[in-house]
């Protein structure tokens, strides 16, 4: 880990949704840090709050959701206190985001060219349309799309899913942001395309020095891609550390469960281990450790919420009974 200040530092972020049925604590005390050029994998199952974390950083949480606590420090500014106009200036310029379903991410009635050049000119009004167009074309070519010149004039529905996602990535990286947040960008794509997109993103980020937060529920993806991993459960980070440490020597029982359920890691023919039970409803979180209703190691002391602590150097976990036993 570098000694310089991290690019992004999220501290005790809380994002709650005030719905008619009650308060949904989608993100309830998340702290993480990303350094320049680093790749962080944010892993968790559906509904754990990882996407909301991404939206919170971007300032795109819509009512009835609201950031109710914590700080998000980015390049020296606290994003939670900024005015909307300043946030807008940062979005797409210093921090970018891509979403899961590329079909719905691109506006069906606008040409690709328009959707790309507007991203440039929103932040650099002095750039002419022709210049912006040239930059857009180059960006498309860089993501591996052939015939970039023709593609500019096309509409989103004329592309396949993988291509659309490449376009979205190209748009996100147009202004060379310092941070890219990718919210499950390959979940909706074929497995073969997934690998390609992964590779593209990795390459592009390394080339431009862009830090990357890759949000996913798929641990296998994280293994090859990330420098660091943070595991989320029910709105909180339960384990965090360098990717090799977390994947080879998980401290939290939930992480172990997740790893165990990855098919490639099980012996052939053996039963796929499952984590018993279901994730709790965000409206009714249990007291203390949220995982204790499903944890084989839980006991009465788990009724007190453990803090996220560095149980090993640079390796944090939020657990009363972490897996600290010696392992091969």
């Amino acid at each position: 880990m570098s000694a310089a200040a991290p690019l992004l530092s999220v501290e005790e972020l809380r994002t709650h949704f005030l719905t008619r049925a009650g308060v949904v604590k989608a993100v309830d005390g998340v702290s993480l840090a990303v350094n320049r050029g680093e790749v962080l994998g944010l892993v968790g199952e559906s509904g754990c709050g990882k996407s909301v974390t991404g939206f919170s950083i971007m300032g795109l949480v819509d009512p009835p959701g609201k950031i109710v606590g914590g700080r998000i420090l980015f390049e020296g500014e606290d994003l939670t206190t900024l005015a909307e106009e300043r946030l807008r200036a940062l979005r797409g310029e210093r921090i970018a985001m891509i979403f899961q379903d590329p079909l719905m991410t691109l506006n069906p009635v606008l040409r690709i060219e328009t959707q790309m050049t507007e991203a440039i000119r929103a932040h650099h009004p002095d750039v002419t349309q022709t210049q912006a167009r040239a930059r857009a074309r180059d960006a498309l070519a860089q993501t591996g799309i052939p015939d970039a010149e023709q593609r500019l004039a096309a509409y989103p529905h004329q592309f396949s899913g993988g291509m659309r996602q490449r376009v979205a990535i190209a748009i996100a990286l147009l202004n060379r942001p310092a941070l890219l947040i990718a919210d499950e960008p390959t979940t909706a794509l074929d497995v073969t395309i997934q690998a390609q997109i992964l590779h593209e993103v990795q390459k592009l980020c390394r080339e431009s020095g862009t830090a990357l937060i890759w949000i996913t529920h798929d641990l296998a993806v994280v293994g090859g891609l990330a420098d660091a991993v943070a595991v989320m459960y029910a709105g909180r980070i339960v384990e965090q550390g360098p990717v090799d440490d977390v994947l080879d020597r998980p401290l939290h029982p939930y992480t172990l469960g997740l790893l165990g359920s990855v098919p490639s890691r099980t012996r052939r023919g053996a039963r796929l281990p499952q984590i018993p039970g279901m994730a709790p409803s965000p409206l009714r979180l249990p007291d203390g450790c949220s995982f204790r209703t499903r944890c084989p190691r839980a006991d009465s002391s788990c009724a007190n919420m453990p803090a996220l602590e560095a149980l090993l150097p640079d390796h944090l976990a939020r657990c009363v009974h972490p897996l600290m036993e010696a392992r091969p």
């Binding site: 069906p108 507007e118 509409y155």
Partner: protein, 327 residues
């Protein structure tokens, strides 16, 4: 695209034929066709001559062909009342009706779209709710009653605007239009407002519900994630997507507006085809009734066809075909 147009053209022609058959059947099946198409004041010789000319002594299907042939040549009988070819009467009055109809539609778009957009973007505000209730009020108001009230308030009580008739006209490309003169405009305002009210309500509701749906779409969020200014997000990304359904519905409604102008024209004594048909029905001037029906049916079919073509031109997904994806 051309295939599409051709196909629609053929469909429209077919519908036109079917409707003409219906009108024909309706006219001829309900009574002695002689009574219908020949003036009651005609004498025996006249009746005999008309019978032969209109082919009324031939079998029904032949009569239909004669009718169709005559229709295509613009011969739809002479008006009993005016003693002129009924089609000519209709065509003379058509510009007035079209002017009224288009003014009403223009008002509907100019007023309805921004209001609906606003109501869709901020649905919880008092103003938006007021717009919502106002739009329900708008299409609950019976057009004819509103017309009377408008006339009473603005023409009778306040005396600001004239209460009837069409103002001075100017000839543009051989067609008389009145909105280019101040006097014409004054006469146009009340009837146009009257006719447009329920359309404004319709556009507001369409725009509001469309906006409400579109605003939650991923592409709007992505546009914001790009850091676009809110104005651009709304005017380009949101508006662009609701414009298509709004325009198509509006286009289809144009036919209804033309038909509905009968009411406004009656109240404001606007010299269009609507006024003509009502008086013709009252005095049973059947050739005019038939000519009006054929003309309006034709117009409606034409408008529907144009709207279809417009829709396919506007929506790139339809224009360029789905499923042209390349890997």
């Amino acid at each position: 695209m051309t295939v599409f147009i051709l196909r629609r053209l053929m469909q429209s022609a077919l519908v036109l034929v079917v409707m003409s058959a219906l009108v024909f059947l309706g006219v001829f099946a309900i009574g002695n066709p002689v009574d219908i198409l020949v003036s009651p004041q005609a004498d025996q010789a006249e009746i005999a001559r008309s019978t032969a000319a209109l082919g009324l002594d031939k079998p029904l299907w032949q009569q239909y062909l004669v009718f169709l042939g005559n229709a295509l040549h613009g011969r739809l009988g002479n008006s009993f009342v005016f003693n002129e070819p009924s089609l000519r009467l209709i065509v003379e009055r058509l510009p007035a009706t079209l002017e009224l109809a288009f003014s009403a539609m223009m008002l509907a778009v100019v007023l309805g779209l921004p209001l609906g957009l606003y109501a869709g973007l901020k649905p919880e505000t008092g103003f938006a709710r007021a717009i919502g209730v106002g739009s329900i009020l708008g299409f609950s108001l019976p057009t004819f009653w509103v017309g009377i009230m408008l006339m009473m308030v603005f023409a009778v009580e306040l005396g600001w605007l004239p209460s009837s008739g069409r103002g001075a006209t100017v000839s543009v490309l051989g067609v008389e239009v009145s909105f280019l003169t101040w006097d014409g405009l004054k006469h146009l305002i009340l009837p146009a407002v009257n006719l447009s009210l329920s359309r404004i309500a319709l556009v507001i509701r369409l725009a509001a519900s469309g906006t409400r749906e579109v605003v939650h779409m991923d592409y709007v969020k992505f546009a914001r994630a790009k850091g676009l200014r809110p104005r651009r997000v709304i005017l380009v990304h949101v508006l662009g997507n609701i414009l298509i359904p709004v325009v198509t519905v509006l286009g289809l409604e144009t036919g209804a507006v033309i038909a509905f102008s009968v009411v406004t024209e009656t109240i404001f004594a606007w010299p269009g085809i609507g006024r003509l048909i009502i008086s013709s029905i009252t005095v049973l001037d059947r050739p005019v009734i038939v000519a009006y029906l054929m003309m309006t049916v034709f117009l409606v079919i034409l408008i529907n066809l144009l709207v279809d073509i417009l829709y396919s031109a506007l929506d790139p997904r339809v224009r360029l075909g789905e499923g042209e994806a390349r890997a």
